[in-house]
Symmetry: C2
Subunit: 644 residues, 2 copies
Amino acid sequence: MSVGPIRLSQDAHTALRPPVMARITGGFWAAKRRVNAEVSVPQGPGRLEEAGNLANLRAAAGTAEEGFTGDFPFQDSDVHKWLEAASWQLAEEHGGPAAEKLAGHVARLAALVSDAQDADGYVQTYYQARPGARRWSELHWGHELYCAGHLLQAAVAHRRATGEDGLLDVAVRFADHIDAVFGPDKAVDAVCGHPEIETALVELYRETGERRYLDLAGYFVDRRGQGTLGDSGGTGPRPGAPYWQDHIPVRDARAVAGHAVRQLYLLAGAADLAAETGDRELRDALVRLWEDMVATKTYLTGGVGSRHDLESFGDAYELPPDRAYAETCAAIASIQFSWRMALLTGDARYSDLIERILFNGFASGVSLDGERWLYVNPLQVRDGRTEGRTESHGDQEARRTPWFRCACCPPNVMRLLASLPHYMASGDAGGLQLHQYASGVYAAGGGTVRVGTGYPWEGRIAVVVDEAPAEADWTLSLRIPHWADRYEATVGGEAATERAERGWLRLRRRWRPGETVVLTLPLAPRLTRPDPRVDAVRGCAAIEHGPLVYCLEQPDQPAGLRLDGITLDTGTELVAEHRPRLLGGVTVIMARALRRAAPDGGWWPYPGAGGDIGGVGDPVRVTAIPYYAWANREAGPMRVWIPS
Amino acid sequence: MSVGPIRLSQDAHTALRPPVMARITGGFWAAKRRVNAEVSVPQGPGRLEEAGNLANLRAAAGTAEEGFTGDFPFQDSDVHKWLEAASWQLAEEHGGPAAEKLAGHVARLAALVSDAQDADGYVQTYYQARPGARRWSELHWGHELYCAGHLLQAAVAHRRATGEDGLLDVAVRFADHIDAVFGPDKAVDAVCGHPEIETALVELYRETGERRYLDLAGYFVDRRGQGTLGDSGGTGPRPGAPYWQDHIPVRDARAVAGHAVRQLYLLAGAADLAAETGDRELRDALVRLWEDMVATKTYLTGGVGSRHDLESFGDAYELPPDRAYAETCAAIASIQFSWRMALLTGDARYSDLIERILFNGFASGVSLDGERWLYVNPLQVRDGRTEGRTESHGDQEARRTPWFRCACCPPNVMRLLASLPHYMASGDAGGLQLHQYASGVYAAGGGTVRVGTGYPWEGRIAVVVDEAPAEADWTLSLRIPHWADRYEATVGGEAATERAERGWLRLRRRWRPGETVVLTLPLAPRLTRPDPRVDAVRGCAAIEHGPLVYCLEQPDQPAGLRLDGITLDTGTELVAEHRPRLLGGVTVIMARALRRAAPDGGWWPYPGAGGDIGGVGDPVRVTAIPYYAWANREAGPMRVWIPS
């Protein structure tokens, strides 16, 4: 069985199943994962110590003198998410001093969590270590089931990676306590303001086989949207039902709304539930909501959540590039939801979206050196930012930060990168599906393949079928990305006669071991126009290249060029050039632009303080870099959408 | 001396002085003011009672059993602002049952404030009526000097309107207490998180002649920006220095930033200070900040504050129409700042901006019937708002509300409308300046004029000079709005030979009493293009007509037309038509538009839930109404900027 976040039960009602083995061995994602493994994850325990998260666990255990520190009820979840990330990491690293050191940290932090647990199974330091604080008394803001969910996920990961039961026992005791407290005829008949427990309970069911956890997940999914949080007691912000996803039952919803991360964690949990129960009504609702999100509320980078205000989805087509919130955690949540939908339905479009998010709005969340982070991922930063920037994380969009006061994103990036191989491939009764292209080895659907590729810098993807049924037809399915207007495929050097349908090129044959498939995707740079209903980027174009969205950032432009004063020459040739020493090795795209003429008035005729807009009509060559690599040099202007 | 918010001292260093008498007798603003006087202001005491503001005053006075109710520390300021509004109202109404009733309410509420005052002069119920609350202990969020400022302004208005000293005595006692507590060598050497006391103290100085108040205002203006709020104690949100205007001293600032209302109240106070002290450095800073605001951060409607997040100014040219915050209070604050700059400098451009705000982003703040309000004034509301709207005032942009939990805007509108005549004219040693055009009588600069006009529906403005020096030249100055590309003026039927310079047409002559000047402004509808640096409305145009900005609202369009699916035909003729029974009587503008073709793809090729965009290229006639009149029918889509 595979090591990874999803391990379907034998009864699951899905079209596809996750890979039974997946390893990424080289290329783009291997490099990112190496930085994650060697820098980001090892720095985690130190960051958590500095931020007080570990002290809180000691306070709850009674082994420290001080009480709870920090501003937020959900501080523990940072520890849990780091434990999950480190566990996936451990699953790959066998032996060696780095692995031993990591194993030591994992054991230490897991023990801190275990020691903090109350006798009845409850763990959340915010309610354990603050005098007078009462459990389950402020469900709208307490994040208790949210933290519990992350603990459950960490414990499942720890068990799958190490085979040990210690942290899983902690999780099971907490889950049993929750099951004893929550329910229609129990002490608390309500949900948590931040979804997360749902997906975690389904996974705990999968890990333990205990059906009660699946039923409890079902209770939480269906109890939501009934207004149970409207007048729950206690203190904390009261931003309203959509924020905490209590405005409408999932089954009835027609549009994604409210807090983006909460919405998508909920939908991921509902997809897990549908996978295990075969609930068609729920599945149909999830398809509908996913379509609404992608068609009307997703940025070109795959990012979601267009409002800083309440970190929420906006209206349909409300997608401002400058004020995009596009939280890194929301990108991750969208991947989690989409991957569950990919397994549930078998449709390629879900992995199309995952690719777009991975290479753009997700990868932008961590610096190239793995030490600094973006919480907010805008598609535009203007020239001449003014004095008086505020210090909220919403205003840190132009520069990366070593850690956040609300540090949800960094360990979330770590756990996704550490478990990334899991998202690359799947299997079914007839074969193996490659969803993403990264050099590595993948086993699923009764076969094993080896992938070798320089993707996304090169379009050639070689797939060697190492194992396949000897005496029966077997299908290797390759996802043809939606941006690829053509492709070539050969099997054993002969052009394949099959054509892609609905995003899948299905190669069904009797395979000889070692037979090689070569898929070639056209990596020409292209200009992308926005949907005309997206008002905020009307009259603009974006540069894309394969799965990568590009942006103009100041350091790559001619000296003195003001990024806000140019217009792309739409007749321009787009020239790609690989620069191995730039930003860790990227392909840049060069284009011709014009310095825009001075403004022709606007409504205000008096001279103002707006300053010069640049020269008049001079052509200039601009150079675009992949969006994921921005904000790794000095802070300055950047834009994805360029007037044209 | 005039009745109005600003009464300069004899030593003031300003180019102009407010009118000594001003009455609006007919036309657009008279009608708005009548609704204010007959509906909005009389409803105030009931609203304040329902919302608990008056109960809080009784609690502080010890005449009620219950303690403080409500969420915000600044609840008292709603009462103070209503008292100011009602006082300006009383100044115009002499006798009659309505005036007597209003006078009774004013006396009753003023007595509640007086009774709530502590022996040492302190009044703020949030700190008086909550057990354990400590005065001056959370300056960043306590709003104590903010509430004090509104109390001072109410008291000054009450004194000027009624001649009575009662409320002024309350204000003086409070001001003396503040003066005893705050200062470089006193108990508290810091500022309040919400500016407002500055302008109020200068006015109290003007009213009482007590120089200490002017000095204290100077202290507060210059102490700000030195980080005194960074670690002030207590609870409450901590959004950072720009929010509470403590990030940079006013004198050093080069750009408006942070919370829009706080920024502009501070600048209004600084302008008052510069007016009384003649401080050139301060004046130069104010001119610079005003220019920055108007050139880069002001909406076509005159609204300011482009971010819901922290109710703040955005970056330069960050002016999204859909997510415009453009708080009604910020529009009022911008008028207050600009009027002080108009008096200080004599420049016409300040009143140009005031006119734009008054007729658009301010007038939109109150419904035509005077009973419902907008807190947020967006320039676009999309088709098909989704389920899951939150309940914050930031999401009430598409519908008006009878009152707000944070009810700063309604009494702010009331006080500006009640004192509006004050902003129409000014005087200097040589004559009278008409800044705005409303039928009425205005005395300033040694003369009196009578204005008769159907403005803004008609461009003819007749000004009769009723009084002017008999034996000397005297100058009647008429502001030529910046949008008027031409105009005609006659004096006694003869074409004037003078030409406008820098926005002023100065008619200097020996005047005969009764001589009539007729100014005719060209009221042709026009298309306005945005500054090309405003990314959010690239490729769009707006319809304007005289000082009015127009918008398309759903009820005026052909059945079934989707506002988000049209493109304005830029070759269209714009046809104006006055409709006396529509929305209280408005001139509508009709234009030709095209239903836009179905979207040509965008980046996402799969069918989504976005829905149809409308027909393909069919011409259609659309009808625009003045922006101020929107949201007075059923909630629905609206847009000012139209793709073209």
